[in-house]
């Protein structure tokens, strides 16, 4: 379409047009050169000089306008921020829920670890304490299966023959004697607890030196058997392992591992032996970490 509807004007003489173009281009060149000059001076002395002072003065003069603009815009910006935060709230909510779930899980893990801490500390104290038997080193292990019910008296630990554990290795906790290893595989071992009917541990009363055998009695309690009636045993006495009495028949347990405290002593006219009930130091129902005593030198 040709410019039929465009208002036609008188033709403009060439010299005027040329002059206009000249003026226009001159202004452009002058402005560009001025800008380049400003850039050069400003760049060469960015922190000093008359231009810098001038810029500082200019910035100070503009400051009130900037503050005014900021104040005028503040409500709008607040509204924008509010809408923006609303828009982000959903995504943030999902993210926070995820983080919260992670933190809850971490708290549970931390709490579970913290719950084991006192037991581990007691075990450490025992291993580093004076009552720890000579000639043994300890293999620390976690309990991975627990006694399944009132008739089960064995548990499984997560260390086995690859750690040096052998059958008949004594097992302790931070509180005292736990039992004896009855079966080993390379990475696990089965521990027979003192409460097992097959368990029998040579023991002695520390205060009176009375010897006997710790076995499980009626009702699942521990009793110190084979103590003649003439011997003196009193409630509150501490019972420890007796260790080897005759070097020809070495005992499975080293001397001095705490077993429990005498809870009650009874005697009947017809019985030959005292009835000594022992309250074990170890709580067999809540064992988490145990130590297996392994001889430093193989016998």
């Amino acid at each position: 379409m040709l410019a039929s509807s465009v208002e036609r004007s008188k033709p403009t003489p060439y010299p005027s047009k040329a002059r206009s173009a000249l003026v226009r281009r001159t202004i452009l060149v002058v402005l560009v050169l001025a800008a380049l000059a400003l850039v050069t001076v400003s760049f060469r002395s960015p922190t000093a000089g008359a231009l810098h002072d001038l810029q500082g003065a200019g910035a100070s003069a503009l400051r009130p306008f900037q503050i005014a603009a900021t104040r005028v815009a503040a409500p709008f910006r607040d509204a924008y921020d509010y809408l923006d935060s609303l828009a982000r709230a959903k995504a943030q909510n999902a993210e926070l829920k995820r983080v919260n779930a992670e933190l809850r899980r971490d708290v549970l893990i931390s709490a579970a670890r913290a719950a084991k801490y006192p037991e581990l500390l007691r075990l450490l104290h025992f291993e580093q304490g004076p009552s720890f038997p000579h000639g043994y080193r300890v293999v620390n292990a976690s309990v991975i299966t627990f006694p399944a019910g009132p008739f089960a008296h064995r548990l499984t630990i997560d260390a086995g023959s690859s750690s040096g554990i052998r059958v008949d290795s004594p097992v302790v906790s931070g509180d005292g004697l736990v039992g004896l290893v009855t079966d080993v595989s390379p990475e696990t071992a089965t521990v027979m607890l003192l409460t097992d009917p097959q368990s029998a541990v040579a023991a002695r009363d520390l205060r009176h030196g009375v010897r006997g055998v710790i076995q499980v009695g009626p009702g699942g309690t521990l009793v110190l058997n084979d103590v003649p009636k003439q011997q003196v045993v009193q409630a509150g006495d501490v019972i420890v392992t007796d260790g080897t009495r005759n070097p020809r028949y070495p005992d499975l347990y080293p001397y001095g591992i705490p077993i429990g405290r005498v809870a009650a002593v009874g005697a009947t006219d017809t019985a030959t032996f005292l009835q000594v009930q022992v309250q074990p130091f170890v709580s067999f129902g809540s064992l988490d970490a145990v130590g297996v005593l392994v001889p430093k030198h193989r016998r």
Partner: protein
């Protein structure tokens, strides 16, 4: 397309009242840009109310007004933001002149001219600043600038319609004869 000589070239020019209005408009836009809009980051881009206003002034008032407006508006920005003086001036002067020429010639009376100008100038302005910063050895993150180009164009296009309407209301549309023209493209 038919090229045609422009009429009444001598009558071209911006009146003093218009000049004052344009200056005030650009001043307000520059202050708003450095104080308010520079802090708005939308998808990594900053809406440039000054550039859009300058484009509107250039399209309505021609290349000389555009170059002068760009120079002084840039100077304001550099002064207020305590940046390298003349840097923004240089780029805005060239942008103002080029858009002014486009308005004087091809772009006049076309409804899409402001939008086209804003889109193109947004790209050229960003790239121009990038080049100048690079030449001066200052930080010139090309990747970030290129990534923000598309959102910047969109943001500026959104601003174009209202700002162009305001500017045109303030500066009465110059008659064709008031603009420096040598060529008019039709169609």
């Amino acid at each position: 397309m038919v090229g045609r000589a422009a009429p009444r070239e001598d009558a071209r020019g911006v009146s003093v009242g218009d000049g004052v209005k344009a200056a005030v408009l650009l001043f307000v836009a520059a202050i708003a840009q450095v104080s308010v809009f520079a802090q708005l980051h939308v998808f990594g881009a900053v809406p440039d109310v000054l550039l859009v206003t300058l484009v509107a002034v250039c399209l309505l008032r021609g290349s000389i007004a555009g170059a002068l407006g760009g120079f002084f508006a840039g100077l304001l920005v550099d002064t207020a933001s305590l940046g390298t003086l003349g840097l923004t001036s240089l780029v805005l002067t060239l942008a103002g002149y080029w858009i002014g020429r486009y308005g004087e010639t091809t772009g006049r009376e076309r409804a899409h001219a402001p939008f086209l100008s804003v889109a193109v100038v947004t790209v050229l302005y960003q790239l121009g600043l990038l080049v100048v910063h690079f030449v001066l050895g200052e930080s010139a993150p090309a990747g970030a600038v290129l990534r923000s180009l598309a959102p910047a164009i969109v943001l500026n296009l959104i601003l174009t319609a209202p700002l162009y309407a305001i500017t045109r209301r303030l500066l009465k549309t110059a008659t064709r004869g008031e603009l420096s023209t040598e060529v008019q493209l039709l169609g």
